[in-house]
Amino acid sequence: MNFVIPDVVPAIPEIFMLAMTCIVLLSGLFLQRRYPSLPYMLSLLALVGAVVLTVALYKHTTEITFHNSYIIDHIGSILKVTILGTCFFVFLYCRRYVADRNILNTEFYVLCLFSVLGMMVLVSAYSFISLYLGLEIFSLPLYALIALQRDAARSAEAAMKYFIMGAVASGMLLYGLSMIYGATKSVDIAVVSQVLTSVPASQNLILVFGLVFVVVGVAFKLGGAPFHMWVPDVYEGAPSAVTLFIATAPKIAAFAMAVRLLVDMMPLYQVEWQHMLIVVALVSMAIGNFVAIVQTNLKRMLAYSSIAHMGYMSLGLLSGNAQGYSAASFYIIVYTIMSLGAFGMVTILSGKGFEMETINDYKGLNSRNPWLAFIMLLLMFSMAGVPPIAGFFAKLGVIESLVEAHLVWLAVLALVFAIIGAYYYLRVVKVMYFDAPEHQSRIDTTSMDTRIAISANGLFILVLGIFPGIIFNLCKAAF
């Protein structure tokens, strides 16, 4: 057998990440006594290093290596940098929370880093094998992370649910991929898409059959309805720090998977997956927005809101044109940043011994800490899609692409749901600004670095709203 040594250069960020994760693990084992914050520092270093490497390796051309199973391209690089940056902020927000609650410090960071590594692999995956590998590397640590507080029944329940549902979804995805493999005799995405050009959709039921399972798997990972049931329970049950992680970076990884499997591999089956995604988007927007209204727990409300947002993002994907794809990637990036801020707020406001989880906890936040209330206001307005904040342009982009694709009715429905959704975001703002606080004490659980981080996060949303071109042009160039 002729074995060619593949070009490993494109995978250097991942290799670096793996090495650093192992170092963090070891440092936690042997050095944490002496230097308690060493794993944390090393983790941040790992993320920064990976960002630097990803940016440095970035070329304007697409490169495929490891026997057609690994790709480095424009969209992949953008998504990787976003994942790494998101994780960086997650760590900044979490440090105190994790320390205060005696959550296993090193394990938390290591599991997150392993998950990030999986996401990076998934983003760059260009064959079914590497794709599934990435998917599992990124999913398995998440199950463990949720159950990290072993004595909390709620967390254990959430972890179990997520694990079992995740296993079912994973199985479905595999089943779908194997169908496609059976029909095309290849596991390489590039080869499969090549083969598909000669097989019209109507003639190949096996492919359509496989495609249905693939879409279900993707929708599960994104958390789109009706495959969303795990989302509220997991978001609410997991410790806020873990929720923060689950609610942000994995969305991008799942989006990357959708792009690889649907846009890159099966563009010719666009009609079929468009129909399914329309259903997913509509049901997601409906369930997400309606059910969020009656929630009293902020994390649960944000969970439903994330379901609705995945619905909006799918609108961009299903438009089936370059404009739609770039709008969807802009949407997912903006959503991740907003979600990072919102869950980050929940995490940093929760002090030792108490959680800022229910919406009532936010009563009168403005009088307790006006600056954080203002940042939260920005985030909520952005999620609701109020101009001129980034969330507005994200929605505008996907709706524009829908109109471009002659799906005006869907655009109208999306707007109707957006209006319904505005209610519960604005309720948070109302509670923060117009209700009397239950505790008079000023909130000062935050430290300097988190304050700076959350301010940067919130203000970036605002800046991105005024100059959406910063990221939008990058997304545009990717498709």
Binding site: I164, L211, V216, P226, F227, F290, V291, A292
Partner: protein, 658 residues
């Protein structure tokens, strides 16, 4: 000197008042009253001096400038620019605006002395000057509209300057609402221009006009009726002018605007803002000249206003209201001049009127200061004894307004009357009689006010009389400054302005050959003095003189005459005191009607349908859906898995089997 320097000079002229407004408006409290007026007046002086220099460049060196300074927005193929068109017309307007504004700034030091809103006042009038300069210097409709709305806004703010008075608030609201009606027409006109010409730039539009008119396109707003597009555009623009320049029937706001401080009445509601409509119609002369119907409308509305609003002035007892109605009447004259295609004559009257009407207003203001803010002429009398300078200045203004030669008003008004006489477009005959009788009426009400205030016996209370004295120099100095052009401006400008070859305004205005009445009149013109001497042979002169005489007779000679008139001709007197019923009609029909409709809409549309059904109803539906659908999330794992399988099965059966 090149175009660049004109560009820079006009920038300074236009923006200096804005800087003043910002300084006085935002930092007035810190600067204190003295510094505030010093800064604004200093910047106004700069603007005025530079305007004079600009006039030298434009009139003597024959330079013009048309350029964009800033692109505000691009939408598709439409560009919205901020730009200047500095030609003879806009330079004259800038000179006029900065001059009157400067006089009013200085005057306000005395008039507004001790007012708690002193700095705010200076900020407003500077802001007004900026908006007005933007309006006149615009090279496109977009900026014209900006200035148009800007002056409207400041006018609204200044009428309601004493916002604790109910009348002031009522007046400002009325001015605002009536102007809205006009602006509605105006913006429709601009939209029509944008629609048909694809540009809002003057030059681009005017370049297309001949070609456009040749094809004579029509549009039908009401099915079956085809109207010429040019006529529709002109009439819509003229509706805007009617609002801003207070032409009948949109004139009702101007008398109410007298609730503002008197310097404002002089600056905004006499000399500058209300003439914006006249300016705009002149600027649009290439359009208006192509539509005889539009010209006819302008002529008839203008001349009717000139006569009828003048009649109302005869029965007013408030000195400012007399001058206000006289402004309405004079604006009618200007419009009549434009309607007769004598654009130069209308603008000529605009300039002379700006001087003598500002003079009359400031004179009235001086009287009001002397009388301790008493405006009722029934409580005045024989003021010449106490206020000699005001008396002389007011007399000059009155003579100019009454068109007695050789004062400024004579030349401009006589030119308008002659132009209307010479005009041949439909309606010119009626218009001629209106403006002719108007000459008598003008002299009558002007000198009625003059005799009643400054002659006859003293009717004020002893307390007021004890303090009655000439106003301070900051008040009378602007009067003198305005009195000089009120005497001489007419004879200086009449030749170059109306009959010059080329005329003073050059190619800034366009007159179609078949309507060129001024060219006809030029054959009869032999210089200003001969024109003045010749006037004793003409009807308008004798009408004006008899107006003065009747006024003297009624108030000095036979004081019982007015009462006799009032009791014998009760119906006529009532018609005039009720101002031909315009106000009552509006109050009854529009205000009450609107309130009725609004009330109905509120109850049925808002409370029942929108609030009751849509807002609360949809809210309830959403809540219900939310409550129901949250039960889907049961918490049981097998439910979750079932939902997932269900979704899968639906997709499969739809795509694979379907």
């Amino acid at each position: 000197m090149d175009g660049n320097s004109i560009h820079n000079i006009s920038m300074i002229i236009v923006f200096a008042p804005l800087v003043g407004a910002i300084i006085a408006g935002f930092f007035g409290k810190k600067l204190g009253p003295r510094m505030s007026h010093q800064v604004t007046i200093f910047l106004m002086t700069i603007a005025f001096v530079l305007a004079m220099y600009l006039a030298k460049l434009v009139f003597m060196d024959g330079q013009t400038y048309n350029g964009t300074i800033y692109t505000w927005g691009v939408s598709g193929s439409f560009q919205f620019n901020v730009g200047f068109l500095i030609d003879r017309l806009s330079t004259m307007m800038m000179l006029c605006v900065t001059f009157v504004s400067l006089a009013v700034h200085v005057y306000s030091i005395g008039y507004m002395h001790g007012d708690p809103g002193y700095q705010r006042f200076f900020a407003y009038i500077s802001l007004f000057t900026f908006a007005m300069l933007m309006l006149v210097s615009a090279n496109n409709f977009f900026q014209l509209f900006f200035g148009w709305e800007g002056v409207g806004l400041v006018s609204y703010l200044l009428i309601g300057f004493w916002f604790r008075r109910d009348n002031a608030n009522f007046g400002s609201l009325k001015a605002f609402l009536v102007n809205r009606v006009g602006d509605f027409g105006f913006i429709l006109g601009i939209s029509a221009i944008l629609n048909y010409f694809g540009s809002v730039d003057y030059q681009a539009v005017f370049d297309q006009v001949p070609q456009f008119a040749a094809s004579n396109p029509t549009l039908s707003i009401i099915p079956g009726l085809h109207w010429s597009v040019i006529t529709v555009i002109c009439i819509l623009l003229f509706i805007g002018a009617m609002g801003k320049s207070a032409q009948m029937p949109l004139h009702v706001w101007l008398p109410e605007s007298m609730e503002g401080p008197t310097p404002i009445s002089a600056l905004i509601h006499a000399a500058t803002m209300v003439t914006a409509g006249v300016f705009m119609v002149s600027r649009m002369s290439p359009l208006f000249e192509l539509s005889q119907n539009a010209l006819s409308l302008v002529l008839i509305i203008g001349s009717a206003g000139a006569l009828f609003t003048g009649l109302i002035a005869i029965v007013q007892t408030d000195i400012k209201r007399v001058v206000a109605y006289s402004t309405l009447s004079q604006l009618g004259y200007m419009m009549a001049g434009l309607g007769a295609s004598a654009f130069s004559a209308g603008l000529f009257h605009l300039f002379t009127h700006a001087c003598f009407k500002a003079l009359l207003f400031l004179g009235a203001g001086s009287v009001i200061i002397g009388m301790h803010h008493e405006q009722d002429m029934r409580k005045m009398g024989n003021l010449r004894k106490y206020m000699p300078i005001t008396y002389v200045c007011f007399l000059i203004g009155a003579l100019a307004l009454s068109a007695i030669p050789p004062f400024a008003g004579y030349y401009s008004k006589d030119a308008i009357i002659e132009a209307v006489h010479a005009s041949t477009i439909p309606g010119a005959t009626i218009a001629y009689w209106c403006v002719l009788l108007g000459a008598f009426v003008t002299a009558l009400y002007t000198f009625r006010a003059f005799f009643w205030t400054f002659h006859t016996q003293e009717r004020m209370s002893d307390k007021v009389r004890a303090h009655l004295k000439e106003s301070p120099w900051v008040v009378w100095a602007p009067l003198v400054a305005l009195a000089i052009p009120s005497i001489f401006l007419g004879m200086i400008l009449v030749g170059p302005m109306l009959y010059g070859k080329p005329p003073l305004l050059g190619d800034a205005i366009y007159v179609a050959p078949q309507y060129n009445v001024l060219a006809e009149m030029a054959k009869e013109y032999h210089g200003p003095w001969s024109m003045a001497f010749h006037s004793v042979m003409t009807l308008p002169f004798w009408l004006a003189v008899s107006g003065v005489f009747v006024a003297w007779l009624a108030y000095c000679g036979m004081p019982s005459l007015p009462e006799m008139f009032a009791s014998r001709l009760r119906w006529a007197h009532a018609t005039l005191t009720y101002k031909f019923g315009f106000d009552d009609f509006n109050q009854f029909f529009f205000v009450r009607g609107c309130r009725r409709i609004a009330g109905w809409c509120y109850r049925v549309g808002d409370q029942m349908i929108v609030d009751g059904f849509f807002v609360n109803g949809s809210g309830r539906v959403v809540q219900w859906v939310s409550r129901v659908s949250r039960h889907l999330q049961s918490g049981y794992l097998y439910h979750y898995a079932f939902a997932m399988i269900l979704g899968l099965v639906v997709f499969l059966s739809w795509l694979v089997l379907g």
